[in-house]
Symmetry: C2
Subunit: 321 residues, 2 copies
Amino acid sequence: MRILITGGAGFVGSHLCDRLLADGHHVIAMDNLITGSRANVAHLINHPQFELVLHNVAQRIVLPQPVNVVLHFASPASPSQTAPTGYLQLPIQTLKAGALGTLNALGVAKAYGARFLLASTSEVYGDPLEHPQRESYWGNVDPVGPRSVYDEAKRFAEALTMAYHRTHAVDTRIVRIFNTFGPRMALDDGRVVPNFVGQALRGLPLTVYGDGAQTRSFCYVDDLVDGILALLESSEHMPVNIGNPHEVTIREFAELINGATGNAAGIVCEDRRTQGDPQQRKPDLTRARTLLRWEPRVDLAEGLRRTIHAFRERLLEPTPA
Amino acid sequence: MRILITGGAGFVGSHLCDRLLADGHHVIAMDNLITGSRANVAHLINHPQFELVLHNVAQRIVLPQPVNVVLHFASPASPSQTAPTGYLQLPIQTLKAGALGTLNALGVAKAYGARFLLASTSEVYGDPLEHPQRESYWGNVDPVGPRSVYDEAKRFAEALTMAYHRTHAVDTRIVRIFNTFGPRMALDDGRVVPNFVGQALRGLPLTVYGDGAQTRSFCYVDDLVDGILALLESSEHMPVNIGNPHEVTIREFAELINGATGNAAGIVCEDRRTQGDPQQRKPDLTRARTLLRWEPRVDLAEGLRRTIHAFRERLLEPTPA
């Protein structure tokens, strides 16, 4: 099959490229490299079934040939307040990727009768009042807060996807992705995994914001890719959570990384500084288990081992001239 | 001043045109007449300071001259499940008016340094769990339900408006409009006021969905226009509710209309049929009172008297050949 992946040079997008190429498909990765990177797909550039197309999905998408599947993953996704690739630093680009990007990607799917999958997010639940979050939970998002540029863009993208399904019978899927980690996360994107691993590998103390009692659940990227492809192959149109329900506090997580890297520099706590950062988020996986027969298989220790290995290699690489 | 009103031939938009022309401004009403109507501005067509521009705001807006103010009111707004002008029958147009329309209207404001006002809605509160609704309430909206085409479009429009304010320093306002009624509501738009008044003037029993115990609060359109202009003249960037907090049950409201029209045909109850129709919605007006020194002045009986008068005249008008 011919598969278009918007955001194909991003963290999750590039892992999807790998898997779909391995499964024998032709993959067109579309990316404007604002948050994605050429390095993520450098190993694929000479693959005969792979194309990298530099394009901003907020602009009309013109393809030379039909595609069978459209996976819409293009968007900034880091909530970091300081990283230049975080959505708080790219507010209007993020809103456009969610609205215009989704509209353009759905337009491709409609034109070619292709199956469409939207990469949505647990951020549609905002600061949830229900725990763990089922897909039926409507969320708790501030529409005019700084983070709304991402949260409302993704909620809009879901509404638009359902409208194309209901109105134009486009064969759509919606995956709500929870915290994911793995190789190829941008070292500087301000998210907790690259922050912690980067600090640990440099022998620095890990910076925990607040008291570290806030919990997160982290899904290894290979599990996420399995879940996305299972959803794509299913016939389910309503949203499905994909993530790992195993909760750890940020402090426990930091200690785990210090242990795995042999970092003796410990932890420092700084004032909480991310406005609207949720205290807790954890997927209810009933629908994924029932509809897709999917659940995560890689445990946190193993996922961290693989991620730390990849980060170590990247940090040791000579900087390109 | 030169003022652009998108949706200027709509119910609220046309009343704004009247008021702004009376105040001596030049008014450009932009409308594609999908839900607005030429009849709403027919009395203004020869006014030297009035222009009607036929244009879909989801397409790029090009103006021959600068404007000082942009009021973005273009959108389907009726939740009717059956009326052809309801947003459930125009799902993708509604999503586009909220996202692309707001983007284009903000683009005009940014280009000319114009003040921008977004017509948002109490629908951003969804089926509220807080009563009455303060602007700080984050709402309870199903992102993938049928009504999300309107609710999520307006939430997205608010997020985009705040992003243009924060990123590009556009001088923005957001009004959250609660149920409003008055002359020029479309007779066939399926909302409760035209439904009831139309039935009453024809001597038919008024159709109440459900048991009629759900409450609504209705603001007369002149009060709304006062509130919008007070907000426009203020320096407040965060959302402000404008509506009438006087609650009536739908059954009481029907009885009031039967009384005011002398309709003896009574009321019939039908099964509730509007999915996601909120049980209660009522504005908290603290911010409007404090920041704008505004509150509604026209009581329900007086507003109904004026509305019924206008509807009676319209029903008696000969159909244009």
